[in-house]
């Protein structure tokens, strides 16, 4: 099994493979943020902080304990979710932009913390040894990305997901209907952060080197752009947003120095012409049914 996967991965162009893995990691991160921002409607500008907590935890687990990778990621996600819960209790009382700025502030504090944290080499950053596992890294990443997509899709239509959407639409009305707003918000926050932690762990082991400065405000903004561009609350949207924004700098590489300029303009342009996000408000189940029905009536 392992050999087959190894040869499969080896048959793909390394450059393409690298982009694909980066997309996979971005998908996990974007889906996590989509639970918080898209489903629950709580704007977070500090997703990269949870990613960095995951990245450093996972790196330390590998270096100090040498845990198997699956167990490592599970533990990393749990630690991140635990931190998120501890922080969530006080800050999720805030609403709207106050919450956003609080998560932003928290993210900066986490960054400065890691910049001064001895066990992770302070500002020098940490080299992460490669994963020793029969399953190659790209397969790992994409398996987890698909798992995460399935999880978030499932949650979206579950009782839990409906409660989150009720909170997003109107917090007071949800509370009046008997939804425990505080509890659900914290659970959503923990779940999103769990995915951020796992994404961070994947990132650390794929790149092999992590530095606290990589997880600044711009990283959080990157992930948020994927979620909003794809469409808030939409799982296919997050997949599309993550793929587009991760590969856009590669597509735009021929423009070399104008790359980021075009990227910024593109972001504005897409928002102005498609404020709901590319796949926002598109119901896939209905779309598939309608196509099927059209076919049948055509016959």
């Amino acid at each position: 099994m392992g050999n087959v996967l190894q040869s499969l991965v080896a048959s793909i162009d390394p450059y393409l493979l690298q982009i694909l893995v980066n997309i996979g990691i971005a998908v996990v991160l974007a889906l996590g943020l989509n639970v918080i921002v898209g489903l629950t409607g709580q704007l977070s500008l500090g997703h990269a902080a949870f990613m960095s907590i995951g990245a450093f935890t996972s790196a330390l687990l590998t270096i100090k304990l040498g845990l198997p990778f699956s167990l490592n990621l599970l533990l990393t996600g749990s630690v991140t979710a635990l931190v998120a819960t501890a922080i969530g209790f006080p800050i999720l009382r805030l609403s709207g932009d106050y919450l956003a700025i609080c998560t932003l502030g928290f993210a900066e504090i986490v960054k400065v913390f890691f910049l001064n944290f001895e066990p992770t080499n302070k500002a020098l950053g940490l080299s992460v040894p490669a994963v020793r596992s029969a399953i190659p890294m790209p397969i790992y990443v994409w398996a987890l990305a698909i798992l995460a997509a399935a999880l978030v899709t499932f949650i979206g239509s579950s009782r839990f997901g409906r409660a989150l959407k009720a909170i997003r639409e109107d917090e007071i009305a949800a509370e009046a209907m008997g939804v425990d707003v505080a509890k659900y918000k914290i659970q959503a926050f923990a779940l999103g952060s769990f995915l951020a932690g796992v994404g961070g762990g994947l990132y650390a082991h794929f790149l092999g080197y992590i530095n606290p400065s990589d997880f600044g405000f711009l990283k959080s903004v990157d992930i948020l752009s994927m979620v909003v561009l794809g469409g808030l609350g939409s799982v296919p949207g997050s997949l599309l947003g993550a793929s587009l924004l991760t590969s856009a700098p590669e597509f735009l590489r021929f423009m070399s120095q104008y790359r980021m300029l075009v990227y910024g303009a593109l972001l504005v342009f897409l928002m102005v012409f498609r404020p709901m996000g590319l796949l926002g408000g598109v119901n896939f189940r209905e779309l598939v049914l309608r196509v099927l029905r059209l076919r049948r009536s055509g016959k």
């Binding site: 109107d170 917090e171 007071i172 300029l261 910024g264 342009f269 102005v272």
Partner: protein
């Protein structure tokens, strides 16, 4: 020592306050976190630098020039990136703002290069004055003086002029203001012009103070100024001034007692703490939610 740090803190804090005013005014009127504001500040610094090094003007003319150019820039940003999104979700406008911010900083990177530019020595004659036990440079006096004048000017515009009255009315209730015959689009453009002008002045002052202007200076300054605006209570003009001064002073004190490597965390720790105790900021009004 104490007096010295307070003076340093007030000089830094008044610049934060200048930038924070732009955030708070825009937020007060259209509840948008204008993430491109930090980049307007950066643009102001570059324009000031160009005016001083190529046209050999003095620092006051440079400030006025940068303010005028950035006014146009601010109005343009609002027109292109925010106006079409006024009726859509606030998150789309936020992403649009982030797009503008990326665009402007990479434009600056392309035009001016990656290394920090220094102001020519002739920009402003720096002399040290001795006040009691503290050394005050003329530069700090310039910063505090210019900031104070601008803030007094702003207070005058907001409270004593007709357009200021229209601004306050629009901030109070957008729809009702429109019904009363206020041209809200004009008011919003004016708000962006005003906020951008203040940020531009802040940019030139910071450029002269630290003697460095670079394409990425807008990000951290913008974030901290935004923190200052929220600290004071976002939407409140006196709050932004108070928040800016408070952040500046506490940052300088944090560095002075030996936490320089935690410098960027100080401002945000205070912010998080204040929000947890008083969730609407120091001078913010409590909004009662109704169903």
């Amino acid at each position: 020592m104490l007096l010295q740090q307070i003076i340093n803190g007030v000089a830094l804090g008044s610049v934060y306050a200048l930038i924070a005013l732009g955030y708070t005014m825009v937020y007060g009127i259209i509840t948008l976190i204008n993430f491109a504001h930090g980049e307007v500040f950066m643009a102001g610094a570059f324009i000031g630098l160009l005016l001083i090094s190529y046209f050999k003007v003095n620092v006051f003319v440079a400030i006025v020039g940068a303010m005028l150019v950035c006014m146009v820039l601010g109005v343009l940003i609002e027109f292109v990136a925010y106006r079409p999104l006024r009726k859509s979700s606030r998150l789309s406008a936020l992403i649009s703002a982030i797009g503008v911010s990326i665009f402007l900083s990479s434009l600056a990177l392309m035009l001016f290069g990656a290394d920090a530019k220094a102001f020519p020595d002739t920009a402003f004659p720096v002399r040290q004055l001795r006040v009691g036990s503290a050394d005050v440079s003329t530069l700090q006096l310039l910063i505090i003086g210019v900031s104070a004048c601008l803030m007094v000017g702003l207070e005058f515009i907001v409270h004593k002029t007709k357009i200021g009255k229209a601004m306050r009315a629009t901030a109070e209730d957008y729809n009702t203001a429109a019904l009363m015959g206020i041209d809200v689009n004009r008011v919003i453009s004016f708000t962006f012009a005003l906020g951008s002008a203040l940020a531009a002045a802040g940019g030139v002052l910071v450029g002269v103070l630290f003697d460095a202007v670079s394409f990425n200076m807008g990000l951290m300054a913008g974030l901290k100024a935004f923190a200052a605006a929220v600290l004071g209570g976002i939407g409140s003009i006196p709050g932004a001034m108070l928040g800016g001064l408070l952040l500046g002073i506490s940052e300088v004190f944090g560095v002075a007692i030996g936490y320089s490597s935690y410098r960027d965390a100080i401002a945000f720790s205070i912010l998080v703490l204040v929000l947890l105790i008083k969730p609407t900021g120091l001078l913010g009004q409590k909004i009662v939610k109704k169903v």
